[in-house]
């Protein structure tokens, strides 16, 4: 489903991705962990081209994401691909001038020409799924952090994406609100949604992912099934990181 090969990316003189390779199969759940500044968020953001790359290839569903097109043609290409890749952000980024309903229905109505009624039904079913049907007409400012993030997940799902990208989606939540968001993600996992999850929450990663990738300083240090990576890490760098976190 997703294949990344020899990915390089620098911000000015700072190289943040130094040759990343990764593969995600359909239905797979990949957790990307690592210390701050390891490049894991940047990596995630290159997949739907919120970050451009300097070198390497990103393949999504048989299409090269970073095609050497220019201007409008590249715009069109990237917009088409993004419609199939849902993304959820650390800071929710809900549209504050729209209700939960409007946040969810905007993209399908605009991009897929979904009729209003159908879009509303879709939003209702998605909000039911994330447990917020009773908040359908609320504005983001009227919702708690956990509720905002669940609406944001519903918004991304409304485009019926083939892959979901989660970028530290519980990092800015109060601890007591983390569970409700994790629950929704777990539910998605059970429905075999293909997911890439950048997270600081190792317990959650161990719980939900079937493959874990440990990144540090712009490279993949180690990867494997969670049981192996968390219980018996092979690399010294991984061990130190895990010790730090679980101290």
């Amino acid at each position: 489903m997703i294949q990344v090969a020899d990915l390089h990316k620098a911000f000015g003189a700072v190289e943040v991705l130094k040759g990343i390779d990764l593969t995600v199969e359909r239905g797979q759940i990949l957790a990307i962990i690592g210390p701050s500044g390891s490049g894991k968020s940047t990596l995630l953001r290159t997949i739907n081209h919120l970050e451009s790359v300097d070198r390497g290839e990103i393949w999504f569903d048989g299409m090269l994401v970073n095609q050497p097109l220019r201007g409008r043609r590249f715009e069109r290409h990237v917009n088409r691909i993004r419609q199939h890749i849902g993304m959820v952000f650390q800071h929710f980024n809900l549209f504050p001038h729209m209700t939960a309903l409007e946040n969810i229905t905007m993209a399908p109505m605009l991009l897929k020409k979904t009729p209003r009624r159908e879009a509303r039904e879709l939003a209702e079913s998605l909000l039911r799924k994330v447990g917020l049907l009773d908040r359908i007409d609320y504005y983001p400012a009227q919702l708690s952090g956990g509720q905002k993030q669940r609406v944001a997940i519903a918004r991304a799902l409304a485009m019926e994406p083939k892959v979901m990208l989660f970028d530290e989606v519980t990092s800015s939540l109060d601890p007591e609100l983390v569970g409700e968001v994790n629950k929704v993600m777990k539910q998605l996992a059970q429905e075999h949604m293909t997911m890439l999850i950048v997270t600081h929450e190792l317990r959650f990663a161990a719980d939900v992912a079937d493959h874990v990738l440990f990144m540090a300083d712009g490279v993949v240090v180690e990867e494997g099934p969670p049981a192996q990576l968390f219980r018996a890490p092979a690399q010294e760098r991984t061990k130190t990181f895990l010790q730090e976190v679980f101290k």
């Binding site: 993004r82 800071h91 980024n93 549209f95 001038h97 993209a107 605009l110 400012a141 991304a156 485009m159």
Partner: protein, 219 residues
């Protein structure tokens, strides 16, 4: 010394009210156009292309740096020379719109720049293009945030619209002058016109406050 006679004003109330209506019309038309124009200039000014940005900056600089009165003369009297013969009302609306579009553009540009990057990214991640993102996500928020500043510009526009009297639009100020030329009572009629401007402004402020309150929840 001659005493004041405000009864004279009532005899000319139809003239003054007609003038007030024209002032209101001028204000509404020019405000609307100056908002649209302001948004357009703001977007052009933020363009990534220099070819778009530079002429916009020049145009903005030109209209910011010259008096409205001069712009009015140029549009009404000057354009005739190149075959563009506008009615006084049209010339007035165009001059007021352009003049205030430039002020609005500055305000709107600041509003756009202040919107969090995450809004842009969320919209783009859903597959919306740059234009769609601007139209659906960024501009509506930017405009809401700068409503008070745009409102101030509208109030200024309402007052500045009196300048249009000098090219012969029978708006409130010129109506008062017409009445004065027949009654020789400048004090009474200027006071009356001032009161009517005040009424118009009060209405405008009421509308603006409504708009602001209506969008409070959505910020």
């Amino acid at each position: 010394m001659q005493g004041f006679d405000f009864w004279a004003v009532t005899e000319y109330s139809d003239v003054l009210l007609a003038g007030m209506a024209w002032t209101a019309l001028l204000t509404v038309a020019s405000s609307g156009l100056s908002l649209v124009g302001g948004a357009v200039f703001a977007l052009l000014g933020l363009s990534r292309s220099r070819v778009v940005r530079m002429p916009t900056a020049f145009f903005v600089w030109l209209f910011l740096g010259t008096p409205l009165l001069l712009q009015l003369y140029l549009i009404y009297f000057g354009l005739v020379q190149i075959g563009i013969d506008l009615t006084a009302f049209a010339a007035g609306v165009i001059a007021l719109s352009l003049h205030f579009a430039v002020y609005n553009a500055d305000v709107i540009r600041a509003g756009i720049v202040a919107i969090d990057r995450g809004q842009h990214e969320a919209s783009r991640s859903l597959g919306l293009g740059l234009g769609q993102t601007m139209r659906k996500v960024i501009l509506p928020q930017a405009l809401r945030n700068v409503t008070p500043a745009l409102g101030n510009n509208m109030i200024a526009l309402l007052k500045e619209s009196s300048l249009v009297s000098i090219i012969g639009v029978m708006e409130l100020t010129l109506s008062a002058q017409r009445a004065i030329s027949e009654t020789f009572r400048p004090f009474e009629f200027y006071i009356a016109a001032g009161a009517l401007y005040y009424v118009l402004n009060a209405v405008l402020e009421l509308v603006l406050r409504r708009v602001e309150r209506g969008t409070a929840m959505t910020r």
